[in-house]
């Protein structure tokens, strides 16, 4: 199992019983997802989606956020799903997926026109997504929708009143 420690923001792995603690890197990481024999995560220093061996070795940069912020990732089948938000170029903001093997990038829902910091849960062939906006002391949901893994069949489940 893998974690980012709260003191130094370093990336560690250890056995499921807590033994064998070993530092993987000194980068702050987030959204750590073991999947299909590989490890996927966001490197906040690089603002990038990364892939590594299950022991944390051989890290490979899959996609960088550049001026956009990569918010969150999830993994299903042959794809890594992620969201990014670019307040300067809103048309580049949205939900994307990247094929794990070829790193081909595919926009699913692009051009969000609002601040978005979505959570992306995947089940039953669909992405369940909550979008958030800033609130007084944090964020609150403004919309909840689901969409097929290929971006089709968008269904708005709920939207906050304007």
């Amino acid at each position: 199992m893998f974690f980012r420690d709260a003191d130094q923001d370093h990336f560690f792995r250890m056995n499921p019983d807590g033994t064998g603690l070993m530092q993987i890197s000194d980068h702050p990481v987030d959204c750590i997802v073991p999947h299909g024999g590989m490890l996927y995560y966001i490197d906040r220093d690089e603002n990038a989606v990364m892939r590594a061996n299950l022991d944390g070795g051989n890290p490979v940069l899959m996609v960088r956020g550049d001026v956009a912020s990569i918010d969150r990732i999830n993994v299903a089948d042959d794809y890594v799903y992620f969201s990014r938000w670019n307040f300067k170029r809103l048309k580049d903001s949205g939900l994307y997926r990247m094929r794990k093997g070829t790193l081909a990038l595919e926009p699913l829902l692009a051009g969000w026109d609002d601040f978005n910091w979505p959570y992306l849960s995947i089940a039953g062939g669909k992405i369940y997504c909550v979008n958030l906006v800033p609130f007084v002391i944090g964020q609150i949901p403004v919309s909840y929708y689901r969409v097929n893994l290929n971006g089709t069949c968008f269904q708005l489940l709920w939207e906050a009143s304007s």
């Binding site: 420690d5 709260a6 003191d7 918010d71 089940a123 949901p141």
Partner: protein
């Protein structure tokens, strides 16, 4: 309950992942708006889950509020809404719908539940208990037989499942702090939680799809 400052006022990295913190905040707000009774369903106590204990929710959902889980036939999803202008607490809850999209969703729990895991024919989720504590529950897939497994002083964060154990961070962050807490594991078959980290963690990943 942790801080959920917007990313624009947070330092790089920290605070960009706070599903449980958000959930805790929402739950606390919802408790103010919609008193949660956390009533147990009237069904019988669920039997222990049957092996193999394979989680039907992907490991990546742990960082994404655990909004949904599916066994391929049925999909279970949480409905989390929060609208100050127009409270819609009646929508809140856990729903079950056919994965093929046919039929209508059925609400199987009236109160909020997040961190959905479908293991051994049982649905596991986090919510708040009658004492307002973050708690892990299980119930039958039809919503009957709800039972509390564990409640925390802190808040569940990054709850995930792997080979017979739930793993989680017990987030002890205050409202003005970043997430932090020790890592524990809880045997799905019963028994007390076991602390497995000597240092506090901010984010965690476990499991294997």
């Amino acid at each position: 309950m942790g801080n959920i400052l917007p990313p624009s006022v947070q330092e790089s990295g920290k605070g960009l992942s706070a599903p449980t913190r958000l959930a805790a905040f929402l739950l606390s707000m919802l408790l103010l708006v919609f008193p949660v009774a956390c009533k147990k369903s009237s069904g019988s106590r669920p039997s222990p889950p049957a092996p193999p204990y394979r989680d039907m929710a992907g490991a990546g959902n742990a960082h994404n509020l655990g909004l949904a889980a599916s066994d391929g036939t049925w999909t279970y999803y949480a409905f989390m809404v929060f609208d100050i202008q127009q409270p819609q607490g009646d929508l809140m809850g856990i729903y079950r719908t056919r994965a093929d999209g046919t039929g209508s969703p059925v609400k199987i729990r009236a109160d909020l539940g997040l961190d959905l895991h479908l293991i051994g024919g049982k649905l596991y989720f986090t919510s708040v208990d009658a004492d307002n504590q973050s708690a892990l529950f299980l119930m039958n897939p039809d919503g009957t037989g709800e039972e509390k497994l564990l409640s925390l002083e802190g808040v569940f964060k990054d709850l995930t499942y792997c080979e017979g154990f739930f793993y989680y961070i017990e987030n002890m962050a205050d409202i003005d702090e970043f997430d932090h807490g020790l890592i524990y594991r809880l045997p799905i078959g019963g028994g007390p939680p076991e602390q497995i980290s000597a240092v506090e963690a901010y984010a965690m990943g476990a499991g294997q799809d």
